[in-house]
């Protein structure tokens, strides 16, 4: 998979939120095989538990700063500029949310921020609704990928609108990364079967009963999904199609009654 000018072997992006310890985060990074992880910026606090930067450095992963917590384009642009200073990367996972209950993206504000940040030279990966038209607009302003949600952040509700996701996939050459909603490995597999290039997971792994085991499971889900996509699934049919031929059925077998 390639985003902007960077190639990745792994198709699983890991969100670092929700892990109860940095040790568990480190183990989950290893188990997930991820090469790209999100980080956030917040006010410096005296009770910080060690530096997440040390863990991420040690695992050699690339950083994807987010703009979580921003409700306006202006705040998101400021946060992205600060993240560029803090992390020395011009990549940004752009989040502009509409309210704190649904955490759903605010489309107009998202688009405005995306356009501004692209103009400033950022590699913009927008967290967006599963809206094919908004996805197209984000592509037009120069985003480097489209990151539609499957369902609200942390909801674990999986992919609520697979048809919209398929349309988003169909109409763009950009990487499509399912962001938000994954609850378990089968959700990740479905995203890949629908044609996504990658999946971003945070809560599904960090808040699982066994985060490291779930990181492994979701990595396998992603791998299974892309292999199934490449293999080409059979079409869905309303009625059965026999896998054993009726040719040569013995004479004692009775023909079915016509309905």
């Amino acid at each position: 998979m390639q985003i902007a000018d960077v190639r990745f072997n792994s198709r699983l992006l890991l969100g670092t939120g929700g892990f109860t310890s940095l040790d568990t985060l480190g183990e989950a990074i290893d188990a997930s095989g991820t090469e790209l992880v999100t980080v956030a910026l917040r006010r410096v606090s005296p009770d910080a538990r060690g530096s997440i930067m040390d863990v991420l450095d040690r695992h050699g992963v690339r950083l994807l700063p987010n703009t979580a917590g921003c409700f306006t384009a202006r705040d998101a642009v400021t946060t992205a500029r600060l993240a560029r200073e803090a992390f020395g990367t011009d990549w940004v996972k752009l989040e502009v949310i509409g309210d704190d209950r649904t955490l759903l993206p605010d489309g107009p504000q998202l688009l405005e921020a995306a356009e501004e940040l692209v103009d400033e030279g950022f590699v913009v990966l927008p967290y967006t609704n599963d809206d094919p038209i908004l996805a197209r607009r984000l592509e037009e302003v120069g985003c480097a990928a489209i990151m539609p949600l499957g369902s609200p952040i942390g909801s674990g509700m999986g992919i609520r609108n697979p048809y919209n996701l398929s349309i988003i996939r169909d109409q763009t050459e950009l990487p499509v990364i399912l962001d938000a909603g994954v609850g378990t490995a089968s959700d990740a597999a479905l995203a890949m079967e629908l044609g996504c290039d990658a999946v971003l997971c945070a809560s599904a792994i960090s808040r699982a009963e066994e985060p490291v085991a779930m990181a492994t499971a979701i990595r396998k889900g992603v791998e299974a999904g892309i292999e199934a996509r490449r293999a080409g699934r059979i079409p869905r049919r309303l009625y059965a199609e026999a896998s054993t031929t009726f040719e040569g059925v013995p004479g004692y077998a009775h023909a079915p009654t016509e309905r």
Binding site: T16, V39, R43, V44, D54, L82
Partner: protein, 68 residues
């Protein structure tokens, strides 16, 4: 003079630079994952040593945390 640092009032000696203010706080060694905004404008790291914090400024000093 009084400035606001991460929402809290703080007394500073006039002429205090951004770099000096950052060092008063509990930030990671080498300032990894640290960024500063003064009155909602980013102060690039290369300018921390030469930028004085203005009287009454609203300063945000941010660090990397888990998220996303």
């Amino acid at each position: 003079m009084t400035v606001t640092v991460n929402g809290e009032p703080r007394q500073l000696v006039p002429g205090t630079t951004v770099a000096e203010l950052v060092d008063q706080l509990d930030v990671p060694a080498g300032h990894r994952g640290v960024a500063v905004a003064v009155d909602a404008e980013v102060v690039p790291r290369t300018e921390w040593d030469t930028t004085e914090v203005p009287d009454g400024a609203r300063v945000e000093i941010l660090v990397a945390i888990q998220g996303g």
